[in-house]
Amino acid sequence: MQGFMHKISTTVSVAALSACLGLAIPLSANAAEDADIAKGKELAFDRKKGNCLACHDIAGGSLPGNIGPPLVAMKARFPDFDKLRDQISDARINNPNTIMIPFGPHEVLSAKEIDLVAKFIHTL
């Protein structure tokens, strides 16, 4: 009886544990992803960092400029995340005379910060 109970409780706890793990892994990944996106948004909107609103209309931002196109439907425009990241890091790749700041090469944003901004922009 004791052995049986023990078995059950082990089974239950294993089940509970695996259920827990099964949920917990994607949950924490989502949370990390969300935090990155939030940080990316902060960097994009910060006047001393990306200041993307100077030129682009971006959902959630106020008083946007209109020098660049509104940043919408970004997943459709940039199915390839790396292409989006490149555009943000150095817009001169696509337009040598662009007014858009070469954020990467001019070290206005670090590589890590560009990743975060690109993650946020990709959600738009």
Binding site: L63, I67, N95
Partner: protein, 283 residues
């Protein structure tokens, strides 16, 4: 979008080499037609009003402010300084015999003897030092007051920078032109990026003024320049140049440096034939 971008960069590639070899007269023609094409509803003479020539929304308020303009007292201060006797008994009138007819429209000019560009501010301070007086600071304060008075006396006169033709004049002109079109600073932007290609567009909440007509209203009273260490609102064109260089995180040149004088020479030549309307009010 791609198509548009490709067309744009192709166009730029076409324009750049031609522009760098063009004569000042050709530059002037293409500079104007660019703006008249871009803003067909703006009469040429109205470009002297800076951003208000293209920003209908803030124009009305600006016109109201212009009825009792904040620069008025600085015109009178400038007049007082202008007439005040130097220690040697002379005054500014001895250096600017034509001030009543207006002289602002003739600046900047190229001085053959020294091979340098001479600005109105340069002549104001030269008058002081030639007469044994201490020169004014270059960007704000008394230099802007006397400049405001001289500009006021010149209102309605047409900007008349002599077309650069000698090799030395062309060298100075091309230096200024190069400054205007070169990207600079950590943010990598040129004057032309903002005041030519994107004139009329918004950078954040600010509408960008066309470069055509820019120098006509200087010195200006700017709200942004009023208060604390920034001064009483009055400032010169070179003070503005420094501010715009700083915006793109570029190290500004000194006011009245050869670099800014060359920029003023190019920038003002592009506005030839427009009226002097300084001093003016700006945000």
């Amino acid at each position: 979008m791609k198509k548009y971008l490709a067309a744009l960069s192709a166009l730029l590639m076409l324009i750049t080499p031609i522009a760098s070899q063009a004569s000042p007269e050709d530059d002037l023609k293409s500079f104007r037609s660019y703006f008249t094409d871009k803003f067909p509803e703006v009469p040429m003479a109205d470009f002297v009003n800076g951003v208000y020539s293209v920003d209908k929304a803030s124009r009305e308020q600006w016109e109201e402010f212009e009825e009792f303009p904040a620069y008025e007292i600085y015109i009178s201060k400038g007049e007082d300084l202008f007439n005040k006797k130097f220690a040697n008994g002379k005054n500014f009138a001895s250096c600017f015999p034509n001030y009543k007819k207006g002289i602002r429209q003739n600046y900047p000019r190229f001085d053959k003897a020294s091979g340098k560009i001479v600005t109105m501010e340069g002549d104001i301070n030269k008058c002081l030092t030639d007469n044994g007086e201490k020169a004014y600071g270059w960007k704000k304060g008394k230099i802007a007051y006397v400049g405001a008075y001289l500009a006021y006396m010149s209102r309605g006169n047409l900007i008349n920078v002599k077309t650069p033709s000698s090799p030395a004049e062309l060298a100075a002109y091309n230096r200024g032109k190069k400054h205007f079109y070169s990207k600079r600073g950590q943010l990598n932007m040129s004057c032309a990026d903002c005041h030519y290609n994107n004139a009329g567009n918004k950078i954040r909440a600010d509408i960008l003024s066309p470069a055509l007509g820019h120098p006509s209203g200087f010195p200006v009273y700017r709200n942004k320049w009023a208060g604390g260490s920034k001064g009483d609102g009055m400032g010169t064109l070179h003070r503005r140049y420094g501010g715009c260089n700083k915006q793109v995180r570029a190290k500004p040149f000194k006011a009245q440096s050869d670099e800014y004088k060359a920029l003023e020479y190019f920038h003002t030549y592009m506005s030839n034939g427009l009226e002097v309307n300084g001093p003016s009010l700006r945000k």
